[in-house]
Each structure stands twice: as structure tokens, then as C-alpha cells.
């Protein structure tokens, strides 16, 4: 093909693309529907203030949104204000009646999941049962110098820019989900249910055993799988990270969520860790931390050159929604005023300068649902008896009025 002919073809294609993108539009009505949904998710007091403020403007100039949309919005706002003023309370699960009324509880809360449970560090619950796989083992490597007792805290760091961070929710899976997952890794036969509820469950595949655990609410820990080969799978001297990825890939278990991979070694025991993260709407990620503030996710256990287990969270559908978050100043105040996560403390209480802070996600579980909630993880170190200890404080970012 001559250059000239190719150039002409590409120019024609560019024009077609211009037209294609310029003429592709959503169906009629979508613009108004979405606008109303956005309005309905704003805090009630904001909508009332703006409704009052814009009442005059509505009649002075052309409306920014269609009059039909404004009319429906006013019905929603007025209906909600009547409910608030009457003292009536609807349960967050109430879903009957006209659409505007049914949405009132969510609108009052500012988010659609209702009041959230509060994530917290639970060092006292540790050690976790051995069944939770390599990730829990990794936590034992790292937690020896963590301190959760009382301390005199001072903030000496720099806060990050506030970021938008939604709340993610999963519903506790049933046996069907577990069976489907087992089937996807080739272990759908010989299921051995170990309890009346169907969980935990063990499945047998060709040369491996798969165990699926339900949510462990006390930690909490989301539903987890552990896949253990019948005999250790040799890494054949390969790079351990590559060997772990190859092993996971055989079962299509390579994490689909954002992650960072690290390799931890203690003697002949190696853990290849895929730390789970959540994508933030404005860019970047925030890592998931466990009950002692440690990153976790999926992992592969290697002992003396042989892979003997892989574990990770059961793939579950996540719903996302936004909640009103506290400001950085409030977060610092809450960190400094936080109660110790453990009662056992060094006496006198050490002075700790909290110097670092990271936006993280922490899991809280209630009413059969798990919530990944944004939080700030503050940390600082101090010396005691010649040892360096790390103090961690987890501050949930969802506004306290939206938490149960």
C-alpha cells in the first residue's frame, strides 16, 4: 500500500471516529435520571439549603436542569423533610411505598448501605486459627514488635491530601458460591462438608485439597480459600515470585484486584505475599490491612523449595458506594484521643510521636455482610528496654454519625 493511500485511509477513519464519538449518546431520559440520583444521594441538609437558596433563581432564569427533574426533586426533598420533622424513623431496610419515601433513610444517612459497623484493630484476638492460611502466618513474622497498649500520643507528621474512598460491601457467600469457586479450580467432586451450615468445606481435586472458610467475624477476616497440593510442588530453583505466580496461574487464582507482591523469608520458609489494594476513584490505591494493621491478601507458602499451600480471599462481588468522610483534622484528633486496642500496657505509658499515616482499607462485618471501609493507619515508634516498638492507631474515615 502506498503511503499516500494509507494516509488517506487513516484520515477517513479518523473522521469516522470523530463522528462516531460525537454522535454516541446515552438513551433519552438517562441524563435526567442520573441527575436525580445524584441529587438524592446528597446530605439532606445540603439539599434543603440549596432548595431554599435557589427557589428565587429557579423563576428568574432558565433552569440548569429540566423542570420535570426539579419537580421530582422537590417532591423528594419536601417528603424527606416531612419525615424528619415528624420524628418518624424508617428502618434502613424499609423499601416499600413510593420511591421518594423509600429513599428517605438512605438520604438521611448520606449513603445507601445504611449505618456501617466500625473497623478496628483487634490484636487481642490474635493468634488466628491456623486454618486461615499463609497470610496469617505472615502476620506472625511481623507483629512481634507491635505495641497496642496505652501511650501518650502526639501527631508529628504530615497528612496526605484528602482522597475520595468509597465503601465496598460483600454479602456472605453461601454453599453455592463456594461450590462454584471449587468447580472453577477443578475441585468440584468429593466435597466434604464439616458443619451443618455447609462451611467450612473441603473439596478434593486432582492432587490437591481445597478448603473454603466463611467470614471469621471476630478478626474479622473475609471468606478464604486454601489450596494445598497433595505433595509439595518443587520450584525447581526458579525465582520464587515467578514460581508462585505460575502455581496460582495453574488454577486461575492470580489476583484480579490491584496488588503489590513481596517475598518474606524466615529460614527455609518463604511467603510470597500479594497485598490486596482497592483502586481509588481519583487515582492511586489504598491497601487492605488486617486486625493488627498489617497488609494482607493472597499468598503462597514455600517450604524448603516446595510450594505447599496458596490462600487468598474467595472472589466475591463487591458493591461500592460513597459515604461522608471526616476531615484530616478530625482524623488526627481521633487518633490522639483513641483508646488503646489492648489493656496490657507498658508503665508508665510511653510517649509516642505518630509520624506516618496511610490511607488503608479495613474490614468490618455485621448482619451477614462484610464492609471494606477507608481508614487512616497512623504509626510511630518508640524505644523500650533497648527494643524499638511500633504503635499503630486505626481511625475509620466514615463519619461517626453514619456508623453504628
Amino acid at each position: 500500500m502506498s503511503d499516500n493511500k494509507e494516509d488517506l485511509e487513516l484520515e477517513a477513519l479518523q473522521r469516522e471516529l470523530d463522528d462516531a464519538f460525537a454522535t454516541t449518546r446515552p438513551r433519552r431520559g438517562f441524563e435526567d435520571e442520573l441527575w436525580l440520583r445524584m441529587q438524592a444521594r446528597r446530605p439532606l441538609w445540603t439539599r434543603l439549603r440549596e432548595a431554599v437558596g435557589s427557589w428565587g433563581a429557579l423563576f428568574r432564569e432558565a433552569p440548569a436542569i429540566p423542570l420535570g427533574a426539579v419537580a421530582v426533586l422537590l417532591v423528594v426533598v419536601i417528603g424527606a423533610s416531612i419525615l424528619v420533622n415528624s420524628g418518624l424513623r424508617l428502618s434502613p431496610t424499609h423499601n416499600s411505598g413510593a420511591a421518594g419515601v423509600a429513599q428517605a433513610p438512605d438520604m438521611a444517612l448520606g449513603a445507601e448501605f445504611g449505618k456501617l459497623p466500625t473497623p478496628a484493630l483487634h490484636p487481642g484476638v490474635y493468634p488466628a486459627p491456623a486454618a486461615y492460611g499463609p497470610s496469617a502466618s505472615y502476620a506472625t513474622f511481623e507483629q512481634s514488635n507491635l505495641y497496642f497498649g496505652s501511650a501518650n500520643l502526639r501527631w508529628a507528621g504530615q497528612m496526605p491530601l484528602p482522597a475520595q474512598a468509597p465503601v465496598f460491601r460483600y454479602t456472605e457467600p453461601g454453599v453455592t458460591t463456594a461450590d462454584q469457586f471449587a468447580g472453577s479450580v477443578g475441585a468440584s467432586s468429593d466435597k466434604q462438608v464439616r458443619s451443618g451450615t455447609g462451611f467450612p468445606a473441603t473439596y478434593r481435586g486432582q492432587s490437591f485439597t481445597l478448603t473454603i472458610q466463611p467470614t471469621e467475624p471476630q478478626l474479622p477476616l473475609e471468606p478464604y480459600f486454601t489450596l494445598a497440593p497433595s505433595a509439595p510442588v518443587s520450584t525447581n530453583g526458579a525465582d520464587l515470585q515467578d514460581a508462585a505466580a505460575t502455581f496460582l496461574g495453574q488454577y486461575t487464582l492470580v489476583p484480579s484486584w490491584p496488588s503489590s507482591v513481596t517475598v518474606h523469608q524466615s529460614g527455609g520458609h518463604v511467603i510470597v505475599q500479594y497485598s490486596r489494594a482497592f483502586q481509588l476513584p481519583g487515582g492511586g490505591v489504598a491497601y487492605l490491612v488486617n486486625w493488627v494493621g498489617q497488609r494482607y491478601g493472597a499468598s503462597v507458602d514455600i517450604n524448603d523449595g516446595g510450594i505447599d499451600a496458596a490462600s487468598g480471599p474467595l472472589p466475591l462481588n463487591l458493591e461500592a458506594t460513597n459515604y461522608r468522610l471526616i476531615s484530616n483534622d478530625q482524623a488526627v484528633q481521633m487518633a490522639l484521643a483513641s483508646a488503646p486496642a489492648l489493656t496490657q500496657s507498658i508503665q508508665p505509658a510511653p510517649a509516642v510521636d505518630l509520624k506516618t499515616v496511610e490511607l488503608v482499607y479495613a474490614l468490618a462485618f455485621a448482619r451477614g455482610q462484610g464492609y471494606y471501609e477507608p481508614a487512616y493507619l497512623f504509626s510511630g515508634t518508640f524505644q523500650y528496654n533497648g527494643q524499638t516498638y511500633t504503635k499503630r492507631v486505626l481511625v475509620p474515615l466514615v463519619d461517626p454519625s453514619l456508623r453504628s
Binding site: T24, R25, F30, S184, P281, N322
Partner: protein
């Protein structure tokens, strides 16, 4: 509100169509495109108080949110769809004919070809023809302006070959 930040309603009305078209060129169905577009503007609405027009144009800001939301969609749905198809031996979901009739797309086949491009090429084409400059495309895709141009032209040739391949197959 900052003096130089336009009212969100204006941004919404100016960009809804463009964002929808960008998203629609990435995904298989209009339902997915609507869901993602809704998520984009919900997120943008929540974050608008923190948007700094001095650092970023509204277009670059919104398309960054749209790109992230689309990537999130693929991450969330990819594993679920693969698992579902493995279990049920089902083909990929097809668009409902009634919905197709309702949708306002004149160049459906061309957009389907765009959707079939590799992720970075697809984004380069979609962002560029959504009205972004190569500098903005590069910024969004974490590469230089020149790299964005090269990526775009490579994508354009891949697209041309795909379209030509289908036309030959039809003949």
C-alpha cells in the same frame, strides 16, 4: 466554591455525552456504559469540592475518573464473567435488541472494533476522539505526549486493519 470552578451542573451537562461515548467504546453493553457513567459522575460530584481547575482541566479530571471507573469495571467483571462462563459454558453476553434500538449509536460496528482493541490502544483512540489533546491523553495514560501520539497512530492502524479484515470477510 472557587471562583474559577464552574458550577457542577454545567460540567455535568457539558460532559455527560462525551463521557458516555468514551465509556461506551470500552464496554460490550449500553447497560454497563450507563452504570459506569453513573459511577463516574457520582464520584465526580462527591469530589468536586476538591477539584482544582488551576491544575487540571475539567475534561482531564473527568476522563481520569472515567478511565479508572472503566478499569475497575473490567477488574470486577472479568473474573466473575470468566468463572460464570466456565461453570455454565455460556457465551459472552449479547446486547438486548430492544436496548440496541433505544440506544443512540450510528457507528455501532466501528465502536465494536474500538472495543476490541488492546486496552491501551483502545484508550488512546477513545480519549483522543473524545476531544482530549495528546498531552492530556499522555497525562492520563502515564506516558509522554510523543508516546501518546505513537500509541494512537499504532492503534489507528490496528483499527483500520480490523475494519478491513471484517469487510473482506463479509465480501
Amino acid at each position: 466554591m472557587a471562583a474559577d470552578r464552574p458550577p457542577f451542573e454545567d460540567v455535568y451537562r457539558d460532559f455527560l455525552g462525551r463521557i458516555y461515548a468514551y465509556v461506551r467504546a470500552q464496554v460490550r453493553t449500553s447497560a454497563d456504559a450507563e452504570d459506569i457513567t453513573a459511577q463516574v459522575f457520582m464520584n465526580a460530584y462527591q469530589a468536586y469540592d476538591r477539584f482544582e481547575p488551576r491544575n487540571l482541566t475539567p475534561a482531564a479530571w473527568l476522563f481520569r475518573i472515567a478511565r479508572n471507573a472503566t478499569l475497575d469495571h473490567f477488574r470486577a467483571s472479568g473474573r466473575r464473567d470468566r468463572l460464570q462462563r466456565t461453570i455454565e459454558h455460556q457465551p459472552e453476553a449479547e446486547e438486548d435488541p430492544a436496548t440496541m434500538a433505544e440506544e443512540r449509536i450510528q457507528y455501532r460496528a466501528l465502536l465494536a472494533h474500538v472495543a476490541g482493541l488492546p486496552e491501551r490502544q483502545r484508550n488512546a483512540i477513545s480519549l483522543r476522539h473524545s476531544g482530549l489533546s495528546f498531552e492530556e491523553v499522555g497525562h492520563l495514560m502515564s506516558c509522554s505526549e510523543d508516546a501518546a501520539k505513537m500509541l494512537y497512530h499504532r492503534a489507528l492502524k490496528t483499527l483500520r486493519d480490523a475494519v478491513a479484515g471484517q469487510e473482506q470477510a463479509v465480501e
